[in-house]
Structure formats: structure tokens, C-alpha cells
Symmetry: C2
Subunit: 553 residues, 2 copies
């Protein structure tokens, strides 16, 4: 019954190799030394390598300082633009105190270091963006310097400071006596990509708000910064619109228990903000809209069998002025409810058979001179929707399909690549046209496989496509997608974590330093135990244990 | 992103077909009518088809009776051998009251039927086996008759009564006003196989006792009756032996936090007993024993490189008398701690390379006249272990390997079939030799795949192998195995449920009545929602929702 496991076997083999290289005359390569480091980690020595995702540059030393929860403080630097009262940092200080001193609430303060040596984490940021929302231009760079009795954390923005606090929290460890320590450390860190997203699908299954908030917490632990909320789709419409309440009262799985009220949405957005996470809603059309039709008569295209309506409906009806009036009102509301400058308009997988069957649509095609070219009709529709949201000063993200059939869309539109086959060619094609892209295709982690399938997310090389440096710059990031066909609150977290964290390191860290799954394995195992310790139901990578196992049921 | 789903597509197609058969002249086949029934279920009408696993015979009627938690009683029939004070039934009555009236604790008693119409479930059993343990001969047959104001539940044993109470609890439903109802119903039910097990592996990952108890609850909801506790293996030895405490203090992942104390084990056994579940421990040897070696010097075979010990160890050392003295003491303890008459001795996947390398083993082979035939040595070892447990009046279960290399083992030994390839030929071979078998091979549900992989467990045909009726009778049951390489408390329940329930119906119900996954789909969806309502993190089968979603995080 024992499973063959490449990572484990490889690192065992490597260990032997390293020991031999040490016993031998001594020509140890850099790889050998790195492997030695790995073994040290495996042996439980604490090194800054424990930070996940791996920071850009790190220097650490064995010199360690005890931390005592009775004499541990977060504070603002004298030069900091953000002062006490800064909502983002005040909240972060409190959260991270409890994340660092996990057993604090249980009251058993380690006695060994009770001679109150104070330790202060002094945070300084250049801009007072405490009450703002993170956006596409927010810098997340930070510098962290840990020395005797003090850690200095400097960042341009509070969002960078939040990332730095996460790294600091991961530097703290406990010895066998439960005493807390942090080692002398220097970190200069920044993300490789500025868009690092997670998609949740709340239409195929409804996710209680608590499950979403918990996901946001775990996202911050892996330094994700975008929550792509695929909030509605064919199966259900849980978003409770103030303008069109029928959409959820008739289109949700249940009009009261399976909806997101305006206050639910505000709660998600404000929780995300405190973690430096953007919330980008997707209202996918003209396809994937079956649930919209229940609460909005005449929105969907009536399909015909011969000369008579069949009683079924297709995509949004692109020929009626009422359609665009409805969309204008809906997106006006959505734009004000969701503060982010991005909005996702979908545009994927539109089937033409129903449009083709409908005489009014065919007549419209003739009038517009589209002939039989239905992609032209689809392009006409998407162009209209993009224009509606542009008028609302929103940047549109659309699925790659929109580019595939129609290359003339506003230059600032972001293309979202989801098709697994040939996504590298697509990256070349779209960036060559000067458009920005977000890559999701290789990170559809709703697809599961037996064994260590986190390797698939980890070994992605997002910029390994043929194109100029200018083209590569147009890849603004990536997204880990958890589609909801087989996922709800019962299994969401174990399927997301730590598998999504593998993608998180690919999107944050330097690819050269993080190219090996064997090197990542023990680090990800440690990080997974940290997630479990923080109450996230992160599933195991392989045989083993955590000091603190998940105790829930 | 929409997934193609055969079950859903099929049942949609079927619905249309049925409607057409009703509109048409009317030659509706039996299949059509069954499909009509399916549609009715899908529409939410309550029928006894809702019971999972499907009872052997059921007659139900639309006549329904309201149930009021204020006037609902479980009681003992006048003729019942079991009387008030019967531990199994007293406990079951209390459990099922709360399982039936789910919102009782939350206090919102439906008002609509408050004119206290009393309803009594009267239970009668032929034997007062209230304080005993379920065993391989325990009858689980029951007869349930629900009429106005009363349900009569008759069974030979309390274990049959517990199965009947589960079925009754699944008959109860709530209308839109929250009022409880049960329909007039007649059920005569019994299991197809008497051994219906679940294997949990607590060595590759440690499972907290709470996770095991929760598993036992969910097992009872699916009418499983054997908990095969694969308690120790190579990675760790969590069983705290009173005779050999070093086995866990040195062989467990942690000597205090990752062990099962004697009281933990008693807790598991007594919890299982109240559900009519047998607990069969497995102490697998001579292979899969690396963790045993840490606390028991000289137990494992020292491997040699050339003429010197390599420092690594292989399987249990079969040539030392001390080995058999140790095993005799260990199994004496285990036999008294675990009351079941069965004990699992493992015997799978023994590698010979280490034995071959060891000069003492080779010398022993010569002395015994085994020559170079190591299966003979393995047979010698297993025979000795089986004799030890036979002397303790235990029936041995061993993995199929033991039969494969050695056909002369006590006739009452049960062979456990686990190898996926050619398991039907193995069934023929072993039953032909007159040995009893338990089938696990097609139910290794630790192996996961994307999509509705419960189909694999459901479509198994355990008796579809070439053999006489006598041979088929030797298949005493099956087992769903959840090996622990990738599973711990964080993801155990969503991976087990409802996927294991598919196997449960195959093992309990009539195969002819339950041969179609399309017919099973809506029933299993309902059952999965029932599990979620009862606090089990059972994952969804496909797109959809439950009235009461999982609210935990």
C-alpha cells in the first residue's frame, strides 16, 4: 500500500549525496550546499527558508532573540506616514499578535524567558494610505530587519507592511519548551507579479460568508492579493441586487439562505481590504446566465424549434435595447458596490445555436451586415458591455474568448487566459497585440489527481513563451481557479490549501530560486502545518505529522 | 468551464423520454415508470426511496402522519426481550431523537401541529443482547411498520433494531413550514453481506480520536458494521501498549500527543458498539513494521551490505525465538483489549532483499530446508503468528498475499483481497480453495479522481466472478479502504463521504434494484445533504445545494 513518492525519494537520495560530498575530498557544488540546508530544515533547525512564499532576498544568522508575549509590541516608526489609528495597521498588529503567540489565549505563557526583555516591531510606511483600498499599482515591497530587541519593517505602503508582517510572523518559532524565538534576519522582498489571484465560484455551490472570510485569511498567509469572486453563473444568482432584487429572489438556490446581501458583500470587501486583498467581482455574460433569466424577463434569447419558441433560453439577448438598459443599471450598481477599478465581464463559452434559431436575432444580423458571422454579434455585444463599464471608469477583465474572436477591444482591457491547451501560444498572441494578460489556465486546481498534484501548480513557468521582454511585461500575474462543480464549504479549504500555496510561490518568488519541487517539499510541509496551526484545514502533502494537528471534526 | 456530467445529462434525457412516453399512446416500460419515480424524487416529493442504502423490500403510501417533538416517544414492545435499561437501545433512542428533530436544540418547535398527537416508535427484539458486542453472526435484519400514531420495529437483535432506527430516521422529513412528517410505510430489510467495513489508517497520519468517533457515526448512517483499524504501520506506532510502552513512546510521531491510550481505544470500541459496529485492529507484520523496531530492539531483521550490517532494518526477524515470544505477549494484550473475535494480521508486501542479505536468516533457511525459497520462510512466519492468535481464540484476517504464497493456512482464516488487478480471478481461486474472503480491491477510495468517481465504487459487482454458488457464499463482504498517505483529520471526512456510502449500498442492498448510477444519483444527493445536516463534512456530488449547508469553517 505504500506509495512511491518522487519528492521524498529524491530528497533522501540527495541527503546521501550531500553527506558523501562532505565525506569526500570536498568538491561540493552550490546544489549540494542547498541540499544540506534542506536537510537542516528537515532536522527541524529554523531558518528563514521557512517563509512561504520565499522572499526575494534574505540573510539570516543563527543569532536568536527570545520573544515574550508579555513584553512584545508592534508600533509605528517616528518617520512613518501612517500613525496610530491607521485602520489597516492597527488591525494587522492585533491579528499578528495572536498569530505569533498561538497559545497566548490558552494562557500558558512560557516561563523560561519571563525576565521581561521587551521586543518591538517598528513599522514605517511612506504613504498614509490607511483608509484606502489596495489597487493594481499598490507597491507590496517591504524591507524587514530583525535585530536584538527590535525589528524594523519599512514599506512604501501599508499593503507592503502587511506582507512584511506576514513574513515576520513566519520567522517566529517555538523551541521544545514552548519559548518563542526569532533569528537575526534581513529581508528585502517584493512580488514577482502584481496580480496574484484566487477564484471562488459561488454559483455552482453557495459558499457561506464565513467560508469566504476564512479563504481571505489563508490567502494573506500565502501573500495572494486578488479575490476574483465568480459570484453568479448558470446554476444560481446569489448576489442580492438592490436595483434588481428579483435576480436573487428568483435566481438563487434559495432567496433567503443562499444569497449575498449588500452587507455580506461589504463584509467580504472590508475583510479583504484589511489583508491588502482586492475584490474583483465577475458578472459573466452573455453566456453562463441561465440563472439571470429567472428574475429578469426578456433578458435571455428565446430559442426556437423551427418557427416556434422551444421554451428554452440561450445567452443574453443581444438585439434588444432593453438588454443594454438593464446591463447599464446593473453595472452602475456593481461598480459602486465593489470599489476595485477592475471588473470581470466574463465573455467565455458562448454557444451560437440558440441565437441562430431565433428569427429576431437573424434579422438583426442582416440589419447590422454581420451575415452569418455570429462571432461578430458576440463581439458587438461584448463591445457594448465593455463600453458601459469603461464609462463607469472601470478596467475590464474578460476571458480569452473575447480576444480570440475579436481583436479590437479597448487597449486597457485585461485578457484572462483559461484554456489549458496551447496557453503559451495564446500568451504570445495576446501580448504581441499589446494587451495585458492574467494567466489562469495552468492553475485550475478544482481539477484534482491522486498524489502530490501540487507539483503541477509549482512547476508552471508563466513567462516561458516566445515573446519580447515588452511582451513578458504584459503578463501582470496569475490566478488559481477553484471552480465549484464539486466544491462547497465541506471540502473547499482542504482542496485549496496548501495546493494553492504552490501557485502563490510561483507568482511571488524568484523562479530561479524556487525551481525545484524537491527543495520546496519540506518548506511547503512546514507551511502547511503553519496553516493548520492557524485553523485552516490544509490537507497533508504526504505521510507525516504536524506538531499541532487539526483538532476539529 | 461547465463540466459534462453523464448522470445529470442522462437523467435529464430520461425525464424527457418519460414525459414523451406519457404524452404518447402510453406504452411506458417499467424503466419509464422507475424514471418517473426518479423525477418525483428530484421534484422533492418524499418517498421511501430516500433511504440510503436502499432496503430490500419497501412499500410506502402517500398517507402521512405529523410528528411533534413534544409528543414523540421511543419505547420497548411488551414482548421485547430487551427492556428499559438496555444500554444499546436507550442510547440509540436518545441519539435518534436529536437526529430526527434536528432543529430541536435550537428550540424553534414547529407550531403548526402542536395539538399533541402522540407518536410512538415501539421496538421489540427477540434476544437481550444489550450488553454484548456485535459479532460476525449478529443478525441485522429488521422489520419496520409505520402507521397512524405508531411505528413498530421488530428485530432479532438490538443490532438489527439500530439499523431499523436509522431507516426510520431517514423516513422522517420536514415540509416548507418545518413540520415533521413520516409516511405510512412497510419495510423488511437485511444486509446482502454481513461484513461491511471501513479501513482507517492511523499510522501514515495520526487521526485524533474525535475524527474516528465522527467516522463511526457516519458509518452507522450508511449501515457499515466493521471498523478495520489499521492502527500501526511503517511510519508510526500510535497504539500505546501496556506490555510494551516503548513501542509508542519511541515509535509514535510523538509519545504523548500522537498516541492512542488504552482509554482512547476503549472509547472507540464502546462508541462503535453502541452503533453496532465491530472494531477489528490490524497489527500488520512481518512487513510494514519499521516503526515497531524503534521501541523493540532485535525485532526487525538487520540488513547487510556484504558481510557487515548496513545499519538499516527489514521485516520482522523470523529466525529469533524472541520474536515469537514478543508477538505472543503483544497479541495476548491486543486480544484482550479488542473484544472482536477477528484480528487482522496483515502479511502483505514483504520484501525479501533484507532477509536475503542476512547470514543468520540464510543459515536458518538451510536448517529448515527452505533452500532459497523465501516465500516458505514468510509462510513459516505467518503460520506461527496465526497459530498464536488461534490459541487466543481469534479468527485471523490476512491480506491476500498470504494465500498467494501459501495455500495451507487454517480453514477459518479470512483472506482480504486488496490487489486491484485481477481481483476477480483471485476471488475464484481463493473461494475455490474453500476460504472466506473480504473484498477491498475495488474500494480503495483513498485514490481520488476529478468528477463523480463514486461511480467506481457503486458499479462494483462483488459476486461477478466465475465460481459455484458455494464459492459465492464464501464472499462474506467488502471493505472501503481509506489509506493515509494523503489523508488526515483536515480532509478525511470530505474524502470518505459520501463516496464510501456508494460502496455501502453495494454491500447492503439488492444489486438488481441498485444497478444504475443515474437512478442512484438523486438519492445519493439527498443522502449527502442528510449527512451534512448531521454535521458530517460530506462533499457534494455535483452542482447544486442543500437546504442546510455546512456552516463550519
Amino acid at each position: 500500500m505504500v506509495q512511491f513518492d518522487s519528492a521524498v525519494v529524491a530528497s533522501q537520495w540527495s541527503s546521501m549525496e550531500v553527506i558523501m560530498c562532505m565525506l569526500s575530498s570536498g568538491r561540493c557544488t552550490r546544489a549540494h550546499l542547498y541540499l544540506l540546508l534542506l536537510i537542516i530544515i528537515a532536522l527541524g533547525f529554523h531558518t528563514v527558508e521557512g517563509i512561504w512564499p520565499l522572499p526575494q532576498t534574505v540573510t539570516t544568522s543563527p543569532e536568536r532573540y527570545p520573544l515574550n508575549s508579555q513584553a512584545f509590541y508592534f508600533g509605528y516608526g517616528r518617520q512613518s506616514a501612517a500613525k496610530p489609528g491607521c485602520s489597516v495597521l492597527d488591525a494587522a498588529f492585533k491579528r499578528y499578535f495572536f498569530l505569533i503567540f498561538q497559545d497566548y489565549t490558552s494562557g500558558n505563557v512560557p516561563l523560561r524567558f519571563n525576565q521581561n526583555k521587551p521586543f518591538t516591531v517598528e513599522v514605517s510606511v511612506d504613504h498614509d494610505d490607511c483608509e484606502s483600498y489596495p489597487n493594481e499599482d499598490s507597491s507590496e515591497r517591504y524591507n524587514l530587519s530583525v535585530s536584538a530587541g527590535k525589528a524594523s519593517l519599512n514599506a512604501g505602503t501599508v499593503w507592503g507592511a502587511v506582507r512584511g508582517l506576514e513574513s515576520f510572523s513566519q520567522l517566529v518559532y517555538q523551541d521544545e519548551y514552548g519559548s518563542y524565538f526569532v533569528n537575526k534576519t534581513e529581508i528585502d522582498d517584493f512580488p514577482r507579479f502584481k496580480f496574484r489571484g484566487i477564484l471562488l465560484d459561488t454559483s455552482r455551490h453557495y459558499l457561506p460568508v464565513t467560508a469566504i472570510l476564512k479563504t481571505l485569511d489563508a490567502m494573506a498567509y500565502s501573500k495572494f492579493n486578488v479575490f476574483h469572486w465568480h459570484i453568479v453563473d448558470d446554476p444560481s444568482f446569489p448576489y442580492q441586487s438592490s436595483t434588481f432584487p428579483d435576480l436573487s429572489s428568483k435566481g438563487a438556490f434559495h432567496p433567503m439562505t443562499h444569497i449575498y446581501t449588500q452587507s455580506d458583500v461589504r463584509r467580504v470587501i472590508s475583510h479583504a481590504r484589511l489583508w491588502g486583498i482586492r475584490v474583483i467581482p465577475e458578472f459573466d455574460s452573455p453566456g453562463h446566465t441561465q440563472s439571470w433569466g429567472k428574475g429578469q424577463p426578456d433578458l435571455l434569447t428565446p430559442c426556437y424549434r423551427g418557427s416556434t419558441p422551444s421554451g428554452t433560453f440561450g445567452p443574453v439577448n443581444p438585439v434588444l435595447p432593453s438588454t443594454y438598459q438593464f446591463m447599464t443599471k446593473l453595472f452602475k450598481e456593481v461598480s459602486s458596490v465593489f470599489p476595485d477599478s477592475y471588473i470581470h465581464l466574463g465573455g467565455d463559452e458562448v454557444g451560437f445555436s440558440c441565437w441562430k434559431s431565433n428569427p429576431d436575432v437573424r434579422a438583426f444580423m442582416q440589419k447590422m451586415g454581420f451575415g452569418g458571422n455570429f462571432p461578430k454579434l458576440e463581439a458587438f455585444y461584448m463591445e457594448s458591455i465593455v463600453n458601459i463599464t469603461s464609462a463607469l471608469n472601470k478596467t475590464s477583465i474578460v476571458w480569452q474568448d473575447v480576444f480570440d474572436y475579436h481583436e479590437k477591444i479597448p487597449k486597457d482591457t485585461v485578457l484572462h487566459i483559461w484554456k489549458g491547451t496551447g496557453y503559451k501560444a495564446e500568451l504570445s498572441r495576446i501580448t504581441k497585440a499589446g494587451m495585458r494578460v492574467v494567466l489562469a489556465a495552468p492553475w485550475y486546481i478544482n481539477h484534482i489527481a491522486y498524489g502530490q498534484d501540487w507539483h503541477n501548480s509549482y512547476t508552471v513557468q508563466p513567462l516561458n513563451f516566445s515573446g519580447t521582454d515588452e511582451q513578458k511585461k504584459l503578463v501582470i500575474g496569475g490566478e488559481v481557479a477553484m471552480w465549484g462543480e464539486y466544491v462547497d464549504a465541506t471540502n473547499l479549504h482542504p482542496r485549496l490549501w496548501p495546493r494553492a500555496s504552490a501557485g502563490a510561490e510561483r507568482l511571488w518568488s524568484d523562479e530561479q530560486q524556487t525551481s525545484s519541487v524537491d527543495k520546496a517539499f519540506p518548506r511547503l510541509q512546514d507551511f502547511r502545518c503553519l496553516l493548520v496551526r492557524r485553523g485552516i484545514r490544509a490537507e497533508p502533502l504526504f505521510v507525516g505529522h504536524c506538531k499541532h494537528e487539526y483538532q476539529g471534526i
